[in-house]
């Protein structure tokens, strides 16, 4: 099952060159870029592991690409994503976030039905 999270996730995976162009854009906007990875891509898991500190004051995407490659090499069986944080007052939030690596064997999820009070049905996703 293809995990779809973040921007561009319904497109084919971006090549490194395309990732570099996206980072270029983020840096041009003055956003701080960071790399995160996880082995638990559940849509409700917002706590991914940080791969090093967010990178500030960059001028060129080469440094970010190097970090992405290092993270992929260290965690080939994890999901890796790239975040771009906008610190402008009023935004102070993630402006761009997309996956840059997924494991060969993708995680599988199944839909679970649970019957609650008054025959009410709850649905939840769980790792298969």
């Amino acid at each position: 099952m293809r995990i779809t999270q973040g921007t561009f996730s319904f497109l084919p995976d971006l090549t490194d060159e395309q990732i570099a162009r996206q980072v270029e854009h983020a840096l041009a906007q003055g956003w701080a870029v960071s790399v995160e990875y996880t082995d638990d891509p559940h849509p409700r898991n917002v706590y991914w592991e940080m791969w090093g500190m967010p990178m500030f004051d960059l001028a060129d995407p080469a440094g970010v690409l190097a970090e992405i490659r290092a993270c992929r090499a260290a965690h080939p069986e994890c999901y890796v994503k790239l975040n771009a944080f906008d610190s402008t007052r009023g935004f102070e939030t993630m402006r761009l976030s997309f996956m840059v690596h997924r494991p060969r064997q993708e995680a599988r999820f199944r839909l679970r039905r649970e019957e609650g009070a008054g025959r009410l049905v709850h649905y939840t996703l769980e790792r298969a």
């Binding site: 500190m53 004051d57 960059l58 060129d60 995407p61 440094g63």
Partner: protein, 299 residues
């Protein structure tokens, strides 16, 4: 192989010629440095032609070492170098990140690598200028973290040659020792540019340029006094070439301001003119008269 490439047109269009001309105009003296920069610019243009005609080899390694005494213009030239390399397409962004040992080396185990990598990432696409680079290596302390920074630096200089250019700067003798004790680093630095000390005549031209940018003028007496000052100051310890000239002018401005306040009423000519007495009050002259021998030596 068909097709041809107009090297002169490339030089014109890239806008490098303006930077080179500016370099000639703005920087006094430094002939060997300017020659070397022109050579590097030519190399890059030829390299571009090779790429255009499809006979390109690998990108040349342009890591450099600037050696020379303080105030000889190493940082200024590094800044221009970044612009030239950018215009010729050797680096993508052309910014300069100037660092010293403190920015690269951490204070405890595990602190150095992230710090050095952070600086390298910031410098990517531009030029990393490491001032007083020999401080990175402290042979007297075998557990010094400088060695770790050097190793990371070396790795990136080799593997990401197209992403950044590293310029080391410092005094010549100490840089020589530094490269001798780190042969791996020395062999990766292809260009060694030596910055000569300025002659008194060159220092006077520099002073004229500085005075002009400050919007001031030198009276005839002040010009002579400044010349004498530079001749004396040059022989004294801690002489820092152009930086000493700047300091001398700054102190002269202070004395001028005090002199003008004591007078009470001034006109615009007095406000912009530095007089001989503003320079003659300097400590340098006092030291010279108390030691007549050194004055003889400079005459």
């Amino acid at each position: 192989m068909s097709g041809s490439f107009d090297l002169q047109a490339e030089l014109r269009e890239s806008g490098v010629r303006e930077v080179l001309d500016e370099l000639d105009r703005d920087l006094v003296g430094l002939v060997p440095v300017k020659t070397r920069i022109r050579e590097i610019a030519s190399l890059l243009v030829v390299e571009k032609a090779r790429a255009a005609l499809g006979v390109a080899g690998s990108k040349p390694s342009l890591h450099m070492c600037f050696t020379g005494n303080p105030g000889t213009g190493k940082t200024t030239v590094a800044m221009r170098m970044a612009t030239i390399l950018h215009r010729l397409g050797h680096v993508r962004k052309g910014h300069l990140v100037a660092v010293t040992r403190d920015d690269l080396v951490g204070q405890y185990i595990g602190h150095t690598a992230p710090k050095t990598k952070d600086v390298l990432k910031r410098a990517m696409g531009g030029v990393l200028f490491i001032d007083e680079a020999y401080y990175l290596y402290r042979p007297e302390n075998e557990r010094d973290y400088g060695q770790e920074a050097i190793e990371i630096l070396m790795q990136v200089m080799e593997n990401q040659r197209e992403d950044l250019v590293v310029i080391f700067a410092g005094y010549r003798d100490r840089m020589d020792t530094f490269f001798r004790s780190n042969p791996g680093l020395g062999s990766r630095v292809a260009h060694n540019i030596d910055f000569p000390d300025y002659s008194v005549a060159e220092l006077e031209v520099i002073a004229d340029k500085m005075v002009a940018t400050l919007g001031l003028e030198l009276s005839a007496g002040a010009r002579a006094a400044l010349g004498d000052y530079l001749r004396l100051r040059r022989e004294q310890p801690n002489f820092a070439n152009a930086r000493s000239v700047r300091n001398a002018l700054d102190r002269a401005r202070l004395r001028q301001a005090r002199r003008l306040l004591e007078r009470g009423r001034v006109d615009s000519a007095m406000l912009i003119t530095l007089e001989a007495e503003d320079f003659l009050a300097s400590r340098v002259f006092a030291a010279a008269t108390s030691q007549p021998r050194s004055e003889e030596a400079t005459c």
